[in-house]
């Protein structure tokens, strides 16, 4: 038993090393090259300076104001897209199949339109306030969720449905015991990809018209030629994005414990 544990420990350590080595070298170079003067620190300040700047921003509370504003927009838009997208996907794929077939080309076109070009139209309709920003995030985040839910329901093995029917499964139980768990892996894939697009759109929306939020902070820092603050903002966005994705992966692992990893 102890030998096995030792082996697995050294294995974890070596995996951890392999996974982090590229990052370590990257950050080391980021620190060294501007300090030594190979890279102009006017444009790329060393990572240490950026972290100090981030500390200052945290000290004044400014960064939390922006993070709070950004996160609430992202969460509102994303949550709305999940709350609308998943049930809509089930309805279209499960109960209104013909309607879904008719609607599909339109939905595909909508999802393909560049959301940045749509933003001025959204502002036209919803004004420059919060609603326009949440609406555009909702718009970009709903497509992956919706399409993946439809796909998830459609690709459930018909044999499973037949087997469940043969055991006299009532309609409601058929939904939550067979259709829902059967579609879950693809729904999670959709949620993950919609988080990515939601973040992308969030920053863009905040750059177009906002008085707070990380996107605004970056744009404002650039206008005032505060390069350290600009990097601090970018750094925060990256960390937030990674953290949210990790959270969803964690939830996914908790919900879908049965995944056949060898097949994926």
């Amino acid at each position: 038993m102890t030998i096995r544990k030792k082996v697995s420990l050294s294995k974890t350590l070596s995996t951890a090393f392999r996974k982090s080595i590229a990052l370590i070298i990257f950050f080391a170079l980021w620190q060294i090259l501007p300090t030594v003067g190979i890279i102009n620190r006017q444009f790329i300040p060393p990572i240490g300076d950026i972290l100090v700047e981030l500390g200052k921003l945290a000290g004044t509370g400014e960064i939390f104001l922006h993070v709070g504003a950004s996160m609430s927009r992202a969460i509102e838009g994303f949550a709305l897209s999940v709350v609308v997208g998943i049930p809509l996907g089930f309805l279209l794929a499960g109960w209104f199949k013909t309607f879904q077939e008719l609607l599909d080309p339109l939905l595909q076109v909508f999802s393909q339109i560049n959301p940045f070009t749509l933003f001025p139209i959204f502002i036209l309709f919803f004004g420059i306030g919060e609603i326009a920003k949440v609406a555009i995030i909702f718009w970009v985040a709903i497509w992956p969720v919706l399409f993946n839910t439809i796909n998830g329901v459609k690709t459930i093995d018909p044999l499973l449905i037949k087997g469940a029917r043969g055991m006299a499964t009532p309609k409601l139980a058929l939904f939550y015991k067979v259709v829902l768990p059967g579609a879950a892996p693809l729904i999670f894939a959709g949620i993950k990809s919609s988080i990515g697009t939601a973040f992308l759109m969030l920053i863009a929306a905040e750059m177009i018209g906002a008085s707070k939020g990380l996107g605004f902070m970056i744009l404002n820092a650039e206008n005032n030629y505060n390069i350290k603050k600009l990097y601090a903002g970018a750094f925060t966005i990256a960390v937030l994005g990674i953290a949210v994705t990790k959270l969803v992966v964690l939830i996914e692992k908790h919900v879908i414990t049965w995944k056949d990893t060898s097949a994926i």
């Binding site: 044999l159 087997g163 043969g166 006299a168 049965w258």
Partner: protein, 333 residues
């Protein structure tokens, strides 16, 4: 479901409430033509013979085949006038060539598909849909990949709203019965084909149905595993005293397992002859295979099946096989 030149309409799959006037018209024509039509009020008298579990009366099942090229609809008779009485506790096998309507008949027995005409009674009660008095085991296992072995087996028990503690006890019993102790927490993708089929059998038995319907359950496993599973199935049958209806295309399997073998003919699917198997039980495949009685039965069934094939032109058979494959059980949500 959609192929280039044909669009198929399945009628009668439960949950599909699409009204098709043409279907009704065809149904009426069949009823008129059917001389042996039974009065729907005459329910077989249970007291006449206590032993009879299942009565199939003139079961006919047709599918509507739309042909785009000829711009018309065609009727495909999958099974025609099947009459069969199955005793309680009996092991009956249905053997026949592919496309003879074996699976269609099993779908009717399970209640997944309604007969176009004719009636099916279990314990004297008309069958109108699936119920937990029949367990089904399908060739493709149909196990839920998101449930482990134990929870797959407990599925029917959950539907029966049996409390968790009792569910655990029952599933434990059946996991031991099919020899899967130690694999309770494994997920389906971690099991071999033979083990999957054991889970499927345990799942069907766990909610204690009186009838077990098996649609070519061992067709997908390798030859050695199949022989082991066949012998184990006979042991399980002896222990649980279920009525088993078992579909196969293997003559050997049909004889080895059964009290009676129903030999089916295609075009349209029907029962050609029912052959009694009077081989002593308990049976061992090694002994049975070499016995003269087995060879006689085997030859007899082989002849019945081969005559049937020879009657039709090969082309026609092939054509109908294609249709049969297309209408073979695909269930919509």
């Amino acid at each position: 479901m959609r192929r280039d030149n044909t669009v198929l309409k399945e009628d009668g799959f439960i949950g599909e409430d699409e009204i098709n006037i043409k279907k009704v018209a065809i149904r009426n024509i069949i009823k008129k033509n059917n001389e042996k039509i039974v009065d729907e009020r005459t329910i077989p008298n249970k007291n006449n013979n206590n032993n009879i579990k299942i009565v199939a009366k003139n079961i006919t099942r047709t599918f509507i085949v739309k042909n785009r090229k000829e711009k018309g609809i065609k009727e495909f008779v999958a099974i025609k006038d099947i009459n069969l009485e199955i005793n309680a506790g009996e092991f009956i096998t249905l053997v026949g060539p592919s496309g003879c309507g074996k699976s269609t008949f099993l779908d009717v027995l399970s209640g997944l598909s309604h007969p176009t005409s004719g009636e099916l009674y279990i314990d004297g009660k008309l069958v109108t849909g699936p119920a937990l008095d029949r367990g089904i085991v399908l060739q493709g296992y149909a196990l839920f990949p998101w449930r482990n072995v134990r929870r797959n087996i407990e599925y029917g028990l959950e539907l029966k709203k049996i409390p968790k503690k009792q569910r655990r006890e029952i599933s434990k019993k059946f996991i031991e019965l099919v020899g899967l102790k130690g694999f309770e927490d494994s997920y389906i993708h971690e099991l071999s084909g033979g083990m999957k089929q054991r889970v499927a059998i345990a799942r069907a038995l766990a909610y204690d149905p009186e009838v077990l319907l098996m649609d070519e359950p061992f067709a997908a496993v390798d030859a050695q595993t199949r022989e082991v599973l066949q012998e184990e199935l006979l042991l399980i049958w002896a222990k649980t005293k279920k009525t088993i209806i078992f579909i196969t295309h293997s003559i050997e399997e049909a004889i080895f397992l059964a009290d009676r073998v129903a030999v089916m003919a295609s075009n349209p699917g029907s029962i050609k002859e029912i052959i009694d198997v009077n081989l002593a039980r308990p049976r061992k495949l090694g002994d049975i295979r070499t016995s003269p009685d087995f060879n006689l039965l085997s030859h007899r069934i082989w002849e019945l099946l081969n005559n049937d094939e020879a009657k039709h032109e090969i082309k026609e058979v092939n054509q109908n096989r294609n249709i049969a494959e297309e209408i073979s059980p695909t269930v919509n949500l």
